[in-house]
């Protein structure tokens, strides 16, 4: 470091930086004695670091690699779902907006992938092109819940209005997913898509009337309905094929139905129960038993006359309720006893219409009834067809008795003391903690 100025000879040289360039300047005459050098190696560089790309002043920024990858993924999704080119471009522009939105620019890569799916879903909804969230979910490999949270954030962040789609809209494209054309499978399995769509839509309408559709995931129900429809169109041959077999015959992509297999089985059971309830009303069966396993051949007849059968079933059920209330009035002690006795006496005259749960918890033959704990005068007893969540209430809700307090009462000291540790307890606690720390 220079200590004397060559110009005037004074020793009063101070370090005075000019715009961050180190300079040594003479105080007396003002001449620059020496300056700092521009360093030539990274190790000499004492301040500053490399400028990151996003803070650089490059005017035309190239889109980042993840965005480009996202675009290609989104386009692939659009092509799988066979969207039109207009929709595809709408999806791409929406994805660009979403990607660069401050809420989404720094999220994980998986979330960005899901964001692409949400863009596709949103554009499809806007253009009335029915795509289920489950479809997008299995294409991306995520479950509905994750997809749902990202979708909700996405619609809120970009102020997009959500429109709901119904199960009937999704039906046609769903049915066309199954490859059951005459060239693709054997003769006995083949089904022209239009017939399948008609039969399935009739089944779904019936299910909607019987309260099986509302509030449920649509995809398992669609699977169950398509399966039953396919079976019922040629029952003699197709009855022996299980649902899994059917999916393999129709070459449905495994990821789409694999996860929801259990739900599909439950919906199948519910659908068959509804068909049984209606099948019993068929006059030409003359009160014969209709079992869930054997109801499929009757589906054709049931669907053709479903309105009349529904009316008959509901009317007969109401009649039966009236009869029961009358007999309950005449014999008071019967209330608990014999729901099962009554049902036996009635089965010879009118077809068995008993809701299994109506038999209460005493009917041992019905394993479903042991779960239910509905009070005997619950409003659900009056309806034949009800949403299953009402009938299968597993646990009786117990409302705790309400405390009547004013909020300003006296609080007893003893009560508060009961929440505070005594000195011994504290010492013991600290001792144990110390021991645990020693062991760990």
């Amino acid at each position: 470091m220079p200590s004397s100025c060559p110009e005037c000879g004074s020793s009063n040289v101070v370090e005075d930086d000019l715009y961050s360039q180190r300079q040594w300047v003479c105080v007396d005459c003002g001449s620059v004695v020496s300056e700092g050098h521009l360093t030539t190696t990274v190790s000499d560089e004492t301040q500053g670091r490399a400028v990151p790309y996003h803070a650089s002043t490059e005017v035309l920024k190239k889109p980042c690699r993840n965005l480009i990858a996202g675009f290609s993924r989104v386009r692939a999704l659009c092509r799988i779902l066979r969207l039109s080119s207009d929709m595809e471009s709408a999806v791409v522009s929406l994805f660009e907006r979403a990607y660069n939105h401050p809420n989404f620019i720094f999220v994980t890569l998986t979330k960005k992938e899901i964001l692409g799916g949400c863009c596709v879903l949103s554009v499809c909804r806007q253009c009335n092109w029915p795509v289920a969230m489950g479809t997008i979910g299995y294409l991306l490999g995520v479950d509905n819940a994750t997809l749902g949270t990202v979708y909700r954030e996405f619609t809120k962040a970009l102020n997009i209005e959500i429109s709901t789609i119904g199960i009937m809209d999704m039906l046609e494209s769903f049915c066309y997913d199954f490859k059951l054309g005459p060239q693709q499978v054997e003769e006995v399995f083949a089904e022209p898509p239009q017939r399948l769509v008609d039969r399935t839509s009739a089944l779904i309408e019936l299910a909607a009337d019987a309260w099986i559709v509302t509030g449920r995931q649509p995809l398992p129900l669609l699977f169950a309905a398509v399966y039953l429809a396919w079976q019922s169109l040629n029952p003699t041959v197709r009855m022996k094929y299980t649902f899994v077999k059917f999916c393999k015959i129709g070459k449905a992509p495994e990821q789409s139905w694999h996860r929801s297999r259990d739900s599909v089985v439950k919906r199948l059971k519910e659908l068959r129960d509804v068909l049984c309830k209606l099948g019993r009303e068929l006059p030409w069966l003359r009160g014969g038993t209709v079992e869930p396993n054997t109801v499929v051949p009757l589906v054709d007849d049931i669907l053709k006359n479903h309105r009349a059968l529904l009316l008959r079933a509901v009317r007969n059920y109401e009649q039966q309720l009236q009869n029961e209330s009358q007999t309950a009035q005449t014999t008071e002690c019967d209330n608990e006893l014999s729901d099962s006795n009554r049902s036996e006496s009635h089965s010879s005259t009118t077809p068995e219409l008993m809701d299994p749960d109506q038999a209460g918890c005493e009917n041992p033959a019905d394993k479903q009834a042991t779960d239910c704990q509905l009070p005997p005068d619950h409003w659900s007893k009056r309806h034949l067809f009800l949403p299953p969540c009402v009938k299968n209430r597993k646990r009786q809700r117990v409302d705790a008795p309400q405390l009547e307090v004013t909020g300003d009462e006296e609080i007893s000291d003893s009560e508060i003391e009961s929440y505070i540790r005594s000195q011994d307890e504290i010492e013991m606690y600290l001792k144990v903690q110390k021991e645990l720390k020693k062991m760990a």
Binding site: A132, M133, G134, N144, A145, G148, Y151, R152, I162, S163, T164, G166, W211, V213, T214, G215, R216, Q217, P218, L219, W379, H383, L386, P387, C389, V390, D399, A400, Q402, L403, V405, T406, G407, D408, E409, I411, E415, I416, E417, S418, Y419, I420, R421, E425, I426, Y429, L430
Partner: protein
Amino acid sequence: MDVEASLENYFDQTIAGSSDYIFEGDLGLQGPAPRLQDSSFLSSLTSQEKDLTEDLDLSFLPDELGTQDEPSQAENLSRNEDSGIYTDCPPRESTEADTDTSNSAQNASQFNLPMTPMTPMTPMTPVAESSGIIPQLQNIVSTVNLACPLNLKSIALQARNAEYNPKRFAAVIMRIREPRTTALIFSSGKMVCTGAKSEEQSRLAARKYARVVQKLGFPAKFLDFKIQNMVGSCDVCFPIRLEGLVLTHQQFSSYEPELFPGLIYRMVKPRIVLLIFVSGKVVLTGAKERSEIYEAFENIYPILKGFRKQ
């Protein structure tokens, strides 16, 4: 616009003059309400059927509101019980005293509800004759300020009913048995109390927690107790067609069966969110007052009855 200025004027007068009005929601007694709430409140006054989609209908206002006799208008408002909405606007040129007061009376009456009398809008007991069902309160969330810094480690050590895991959450979680509630106590002295089934229970529970903190050696006070959220539920006892409801009430409802089995209905007045399920059970949340829950249920019940299927 002149009309909007006079609307604001009207609200100032009614807030200042009459104590019969109890404003709900955000429209408090703090001064001139912002414009958005003016229109929504006015439209709710004029629409008889609480049709939330109706636009503000100013056709009944006179062409020029001009100068009004302020004190007499306030008097007239409190005097008026039932009055119709006058569709013909009286001329404003009259300078006689009685016609002036009659004009202002007419103007005042034009703002009054034609059907409902001037009773407080928040009844203490719910009007149950319309539906016969009273929603039960299930949870109350309240906050209170203990106004002293707290040593959470010492509280967790000395109290039997406390848990404290600073790595997971920066507050002590304390529970008491009666009323059965849980409290989150923060080191700043703020406390959140949840789980009570009524406002009084919540207040009593919060006081008990404050007492415990006091006994542990901190000079805790009990400032600004406020109920932040109330949750209620009830059962309408018939199944509901959610798909139909979302079609007719699109602007308020959101129904995604793939994400959640219930329909989420965001009612505008009162500002309550309702979860409506196919089984007929309804959950109402977001209320600050019990009356908001009752009112929201009374608003939704006729809508739900329309979707009952026999």
